[in-house]
Amino acid sequence: MPLSAQGRMSGMTHVLDPDALSDDARALSVPLPPYRDVTRSDSAFRAFLHGLPGVDQVGAEARVAQLGTRSIKTTSKAWAIDTAISMVDLTTLEGADTPGKVRSLAAKAKSPDPTDPTCPRVAAVCVYGDLAGVAREALGDSGVHVAAVATAFPSGRASRAVKLADVRDAVQNGADEIDMVIDRGAFLSGRYLEVYEEIVAVKEACGDAHLKVILETGELVTLDNVRRASWIAMLAGGDFIKTSTGKVSPAATLPVGLVMLEAVRDFRAATGRQIGFKPAGGIRTTKDAIKHLVLINETVGPDWLHADWFRFGASSLLNDLLLQRQKLRTGHYSGPDHVTVD
């Protein structure tokens, strides 16, 4: 049985919005107020999404470039590294994945730095659905979540019945978090309501499992599209919005992150429901990770600086975080032999 996702979801107080609605695990077949009627028809939904304020690409890039100059040193760097480690969804999504590989990843997730017990564990292990059971068993009661990609990941090109079966299978195997992909074909041809309905259906199929909605922003291309897709996913009941599968380049860029964070910020201000954010793919260094933490800190604030609300989808990032952590502890850089291979 999957671990309950409710432990971390219930009792959340909205420090910025005391009047906010509390979260509940209901499947949202209609959007939260004040957006109840926006999905009443294709044209209404289209008008709503195209009525969202535009994004100026140059301005968004300038903003993240400025935030990129933040200088995070000493104690704040140490805190940032530990926080980043606790937010990693340690990921393997290869055709060659085996139970052995997943077990080794699970061991690393529970104890990322075997030489240092004070090192935090990661947030989750992210695998294909058929290996969720192996991960579940290996992780036991460690508190590390099991995330599985589903819905014909990464392309999403399958019938809805197949996608929903994929989700149910992953949940049954022990996944307590599902990372789905949206139908980019439907999105790019303007069939927004279809994208929405599919997410609603997947959310229902998830049951208690936590739903992350992958927008695959590298295929949506424009920041206006990123904002619209973010709103579709949030209105449809996704618990997280996630940038990418990691299979398409560019993946998690900072301007995309900025726009998605603005979306979760605006959505909570309007509805009271807080949605998480997960950049995935392309984040390989501690420097990249810290830039994302700074981006969160100065865009949505500390409410999102926790693994319940922010994750890094990454594989090689963890080892760089560990090397930097060792460097802060010992004062000198060690080599790749001082961290474990995945």
Binding site: R8, T13, G54, A62, T69, S76, G301, H306
Partner: protein, 490 residues
Amino acid sequence: MTSAPPSPAQPHVFEYAPAPESRSIVTIAPSYGLFIDGEFVDGTGEPFATINPATEEVLSEVSAGSAADVDRAVRAARRAFEKTWGPMRPADRGKYLFRIARLLQERAREFAVLESLDNGKPIRESRDVDVPLAAAHFFYYAGWADKLEHVGLGSQPRPLGVAGQVIPWNFPLMMLAWKVAPALAAGNTVVLKPAETTPLTALLFAEICRQADLPAGVVNIVTGAGDTGRAVVEHADVDKVAFTGSTDVGRSIARAVAGTQKKLTLELGGKAANIVFDDAPIDQAVEGIVQGIFFNQGHVCCAGSRLLVQESIHDEVVAALQRRIGTLRVGDPLDKNTDIGAINSAEQLARIRELSDIGEAEGAQRWQPAGELPGRGFWFPPTVFTDVSPAHRIARDEVFGPVLSVLTFRTPDEAVAKANNSTYGLSAGIWSEKGSRILKIANQLRAGVVWANTFNKFDPTSPFGGYKQSGYGREGGRHGLAAYLKGADQ
């Protein structure tokens, strides 16, 4: 930002540990002379102290140039114009300018730290904006030095002679570059008077001139206060006066040079309208508003100090703006994470306070973010006034500080009318996702620079200058050369 109460699900706030830029890279002498004819010499006026506005610590003592010192400097400049710089092959003049540009880049950190110490601006800005732009101006005009016949002023444009230049304290090095680079490229020599409160980077620039082996007398730097500036402007052997500063001083300079052979350019005050339409990219517009008014503590003549926002989105924009301002980091200018530094002087701080108090007394609503300011030094928090009417003084007078006045409009025509309803006309901003609207409004605004979906962006290739009481003449681009060449109408 709202701080989160302790709770198991909530981590502590992500504090940034201090990240100060080291000031050991720059050596500040206990005292400085005037830079005349390639040498540092003592001035005959009463020396004065220059302080760090963030701490009120005295940085150095600087010579004040008397009328006699200015005369020496002008004579040196005249000699250099006649003997070395004027007759020099234009391509060789270009080589010197390229050399200066490269030296500015090589010693960029030194200049950035010194600028932040003397001026109070955040190191992020001096490092990423002031110093790179100063070098860019020298590179740009170096390229023009041997191509003046292509500027569009006839086949053989001639330099004017000796240029007397008086610059302000808000961008000390950058204003120096805007003045010196085109003057030298056109074949003139210069006597430059830096602002009284910020002389140090100009004196370091004098060192660069020596390092570049620039012939003696081509660049002369005479420090001092208003009297020194007046002596430069009124000197009979000066052929060209270039001034950037307040409208009042500019007016008196215009009177002083009236009836003389001197050519004059003035870059004066401003009260720019930053117009946000309801179809604007709101998040980027908020960034642009912040950049427009809080860049360099609002000590910017082209600052977007009047926000004109369409009434239908007023509340949304003001709320977003306040949320964003709450994340601005005010404090130590040398900290790499500081967004807003110190006000440049006690005098300027007093003026900002006075005008803000008048704003409140006239009925506008003052908003400032929570947070403490440092105990020593000159500080003013980022401030937003709402319920401002076009009749209020904070909507008309240049505050030259981090103070934004918010006004509303209903239609594009009203936006244009309100934007143009100012004695100034230096710059303006338009925020809209609709290109046709931007082009139409830009043509209707009486302002020298109109930014679209951005603000406070500078580039050496782009001319800069004002309408009305914001001055006349253009700096930057080809137009900037016209101001330093004979027979050229601007």
